[in-house]
Symmetry: C2
Subunit: 214 residues, 2 copies
DNA sequence: GTTAAAACTGACCAATTGGTAAAATTGCGG
DNA sequence: CCGCAATTTTACCAATTGGTCAGTTTTAAC
């Protein structure tokens, strides 16, 4: 996964973690992602995670202090990756192209990291207690920064005037829908995921282009 | 709530339910909605629901046979309402107007029924075991029917050619985002929900109009 | 007023849950 | 090989969970 968890940052002890510890922790996190992305924080038990990871529950608790730490480790491991595509939006680039590149990057993520997307969605649905700082901190300030950029482009007549923040919400909503609501999309379109994503990309690119071309 | 649960359909006994029973069941369902919409099926306990409803757990179980019945009753109570706006799309109407009316109706629902939207989202995230028939049944066939209608309008040159199903997904995604991800939207825009929705409506109407006007 | 039905409750049950502690096992360095 | 550290496991704990049951209270019907 992009934004592979930097495990060094997550240990409380001054000791450096061994390679085995890193691997074991990652293995636990992978198992945890499977479960948290389905049933959310409260609906996930440590036994479920341990079973999926193929280790005992106390063994799992040897590497993580508890359920909270596992969950927040997962979330923290993805936040930078989530913000990276928006950060990459380049003030020197062609405006429409930059927005379409962002859209494309978000679709790449939805396609490649559906579980992470659902983990995030589950956390938002429960009111985001573990994401409070992120939402009001780095996400908010980055959205503000890029909204100003978009507004500048619009003021220069390089993009049609729209509300930049709502543009971002619509991009997030549309792209993550294919990850989060995959069972709905598949039920309606069938299970050829590649084809579904390809169609979605084409549709969305048209939509954004029609909206923003001046 | 639109689509107020028809309680008569949900009793196993041949006996007609009294007015008090109807009220009590509704009260339980209201409490349950609060909890299920936050923590999903597995993350919700009967004790939580009972506490919120202000009754004992066995009393709650006097009216419903168990957790499953409460959850499915809630979901079933909203499915018709969820489909109604799409059903209302009128083949005799002006195409763009009909699509915009649908968009408007979906935003009305997102604004008025955020908990129901989150209940639905939670169920989808866990793979929708309680929505399987709905997704592959009435939803799928209605989407098929209305996609054919949209395609006909497009073939007549009354709307721009786009993929109708992906248009529906984008409308669902964008509108429900304001309900499902409300904590994110509020963190970024502030907590004036009416204003946020008003801006969103304007933005989306522009987006859909730009996309579909031939 | 009496009786039966409906509604409600406290106590209880087996299983599950997040976790702890001690014992056992494995790995590593000298 | 030995001693110690790291890792894993078994056993256990108090609390929670979805539910059951019997007793009590309230309501409805006559």
């Amino acid at each position: 996964m992009v934004g592979q968890i930097d495990l060094d940052k997550m240990t409380d002890t001054p000791a450096k973690m061994t390679r085995n510890q890193k691997q074991k922790r990652q293995m636990i996190l992978d198992a945890a992602l499977d479960v948290f992305s389905l049933d959310g924080f409260r609906g996930t038990s440590l036994d479920q995670i341990a079973l999926k990871a193929g280790i005992s529950k106390p063994n799992l608790l040897y590497y993580f202090s508890g359920k909270e730490e596992i969950h927040t480790a997962l979330l923290e491991g993805l936040l930078d990756a989530w913000l990276a595509p928006l950060r990459a939006m380049d003030a020197q680039g062609d405006p429409l192209t930059e927005v379409l590149k962002y859209l494309d990057a978000k679709m790449n993520m939805a396609m490649s990291y559906p579980l992470e997307s659902r983990l995030f969605a589950n956390e938002i649905l429960r009111g985001a207690p573990h994401l409070e700082n992120y939402l009001k901190g780095s996400l908010k300030s980055l959205v503000e920064e890029k909204s100003i950029l978009l507004q500048k482009w619009m003021d220069l007549g390089q993009l049609r005037q729209v509300n930049p923040k709502h543009l971002f919400f619509s991009i997030w909503a549309m792209t993550q829908h294919y990850a989060d609501f995959d069972v709905q999309v598949s039920a309606i379109l069938g299970e050829d995921r590649e084809s579904n994503f390809a169609q979605a990309r084409a549709f969305q690119a048209t939509m954004i282009s029609q909206l923003l071309a001046p």
